[in-house]
Point group: C2
Chain length 414, copies 2
């Protein structure tokens, strides 16, 4: 497969996508069940391949990348359950989002449909393949996956199991799920706007930035997760402690962990709060040179502000637009914060770590978007759809309306 | 204004956009009424400026561009009425698109909000300014407008009237609506992804293509309008005649006029149909070399196909994804066509010319999108919005859910 010309692969994916768009929910669900079963039956093949990758990587990769690469029984169980969860989700395709009579017998409908071909570029974590594949199948999109080279054996094993399972379902279009392996393939993918409709990178900042700067294809992703917590003058000390410790230490390298703490100068317990944070192992940074920094560690930039407005302004200037939280017992200040902060997630008295597709109840996510168009925040099945307008007429022509023979009479039907 | 540094302009627009996001419907509507009144009161100033442009352009512009540039009493009335129509539309901002309880006292809401700063690049037609401005105000977006140089006097006059009207409303943020004039400004705009969230080009194919190829900012627009009509074997001859003549001759240079006619070989009246089309002044082209061509004239590419599937395949290969129509009395074939054709508009027994925001009942449109993400087809107010997720908690932390102290209990509230 890797030797095949990329444009050929993309063309085949496009053709497959047109067929995928017409599959019934039943067939898509059968495919998902077949994948879940095949993964379950072939666990040992996957673990073997993963062992090979780990052996090759053990001297070169950092501990954290090594851990993301490593599959264990828990991750395997989550992988399989993840596919079943998506099987259980409602089909997002073919939904009537609007239906309107333009005139007697002239019915306009807005119907959800797949986007087409998605290019997915991800690093390490091989458990991503089955999740992304399942989301693509349920939303009737074709995908071209490019995984990290350190996971190549694991990725190939999972990919083969998935495609063998799909091949067992006669009606399922071949070339719906393709995998590519080389850097050259990524270069080709970024240029391939004739066949690829959306690129979704999952990985570090550098990867996402590189992709955004080198393609004209729309990119769905977030380059940074510079999240803020603002401790208002009317904050409750206990809530502040709990939330900040959770948001900073529960999983410091996650994109939804907090990087900057803004404290109102008039918050009475500011000294006590800082003491507690320090004693929880958080390093507080006061002489911050770069407010855009994402520590991915238990470090936290701290700034004192003299007003809610100053806090909001700081956030709107320096945030990556991911998730921000205000801690306050003032309803009024919370309302101002929720309204004026321009980020994908804006919270009141809750940890920024809630920004996640599973926690939001989306069943799964392809990632978290800080884009200002299409999809923002955790992106689940719905973010992988678009719509088309269908119009049912009976010989209707525009000239009748231009000449005043007929008149529009817009009436919403649903 | 034109001498001002573009980045400064964009920065100011971004600041204004944050304030616009918090304006009440009432203030936005006051602004729209003030603009409509000011346009009405200052018609003579606009006509004067337009006369200047026409005088300068009369020897260099084609008749069609000259006509688009020329304002008359009808266009002026439509301009003013267009602003009032948008005043009458529902405010698209602050709508609760979803509300879900994640657990007791932990409420997630998906709330519509503006995109931010829109860069609008348009050619000739000065009547576009007031419409785009009104849509931007109603959707709480800041805009930077760049009009065609042949309309510079008219654009400046309209722009001044609009901004004077906005200045009369104390609370309305300055720099919400800015205009720039030079080619260099366009170059700067395309690079300005730090402050501009979306670019909307309105103009010919060359303009749109150039913009798409030269920016990393998302672009909302359509490069081509290569629309198809398929006359199925079960077509009604009278409907076929009416619809094709309307779709080709009613306004041949419109993007939603038909360019390619596919005729089923087994359609009994195919000879008669062609005769009627010829006698209606349509030139039928049988030796087509480029199926991607948009004639913008009363020419029509013709192809005979042996099946519905072949017609769909041709359309999915060569269409620009704008609008396509099937003419048939077979419900079954119509259903297959509507499901399998991948375009923004897919019609049954109706003219492609219906693809238009006003005809769809959107009140107004910023343009027609052939994008596969965010907004597709005619784009009205809703296409100028995105959403954010707000989360209302009471000291909630993720660690409680990781450790199993608490459990998510997703329940949709609306």
């Amino acid at each position: 497969m890797a030797e095949c010309n990329f444009v050929e692969i993309a063309k085949n994916a496009k053709l497959a996508s047109k067929k995928l768009a017409t599959l019934s929910t039943d067939i898509k669900n059968k495919a998902l069940l077949a994948i879940a079963e095949a993964l379950d039956l072939n666990q040992s093949l996957i673990f073997e391949a993963n062992k090979k990758d780990l052996e090759l990587a053990k001297d070169t990769l950092s501990a954290s990348v090594f851990n993301r690469l490593k599959l264990d029984a828990n991750k395997m169980r989550d992988m399989i359950q993840g596919v079943i969860d998506i099987y259980n989700l409602e089909d997002p395709i073919g939904k009537f989002l609007m239906q309107r009579s333009l005139d007697t017998g002239l019915i306009l409908s807005k119907v959800s449909c797949p986007i087409g071909v998605l290019g997915i570029i991800f690093e390490a974590r091989p458990d991503v393949i089955s999740q992304i594949t399942a989301l693509a199948i349920k939303s009737s999109n074709a995908i071209i996956l490019k995984g990290g080279k350190e996971a190549v054996n694991t990725n190939k094993a999972i990919f083969k199991i998935i495609n063998d399972a799909l091949a067992s379902i006669k009606i399922f279009p071949p070339h719906s799920i393709t995998q590519v392996f080389s850097r050259e393939d990524v270069q080709e993918m970024l240029k391939c706007d004739a066949y690829i409709d959306l690129i979704i990178p999952r990985g570090g900042n550098d990867l996402v930035k590189y992709i955004k700067e080198n393609t004209n294809i729309p990119v769905l992703g977030h380059a940074d997760g510079v999240c803020h917590i603002f401790v208002d003058e009317f904050a409750d000390l206990e809530k502040a402690k709990r939330i900040i410790i959770d948001a900073k230490t529960q999983y410091p390298s996650a994109c939804n962990s907090v990087e900057t703490l803004l404290i109102h100068e008039r918050f009475m317990y500011k000294e006590e709060l800082q003491k507690v944070l320090l004693s929880s192992g958080i390093e507080l940074i006061y002489n911050v040179e770069n407010w855009h920094v994402e520590y991915s560690d238990t470090k936290l930039s701290v700034k004192f502000v003299s007003s809610l407005e100053e806090a909001v302004e700081h956030i709107n200037n320096y945030s990556s637009g991911h998730t921000e939280s205000i801690i306050t017992d003032s309803r009024e200040n919370a309302a101002v914060f929720l309204k004026t902060v321009d980020s994908a997630g804006v919270y009141h008295n809750a940890s920024t770590r809630f920004a996640d597709g599973f926690r939001y109840g989306f069943g799964a996510e392809v990632g978290i978007s800080t884009n200002k168009i299409h999809a923002r925040g955790p992106v689940g099945l719905q973010g992988l759809t678009i719509y088309k307008y269908t119009l049912q007429g009976n010989g209707d022509i525009v000239n009748d309306y231009i000449e005043g023979v007929k008149h529009f009479n817009h009436k919403d039907l649903i």
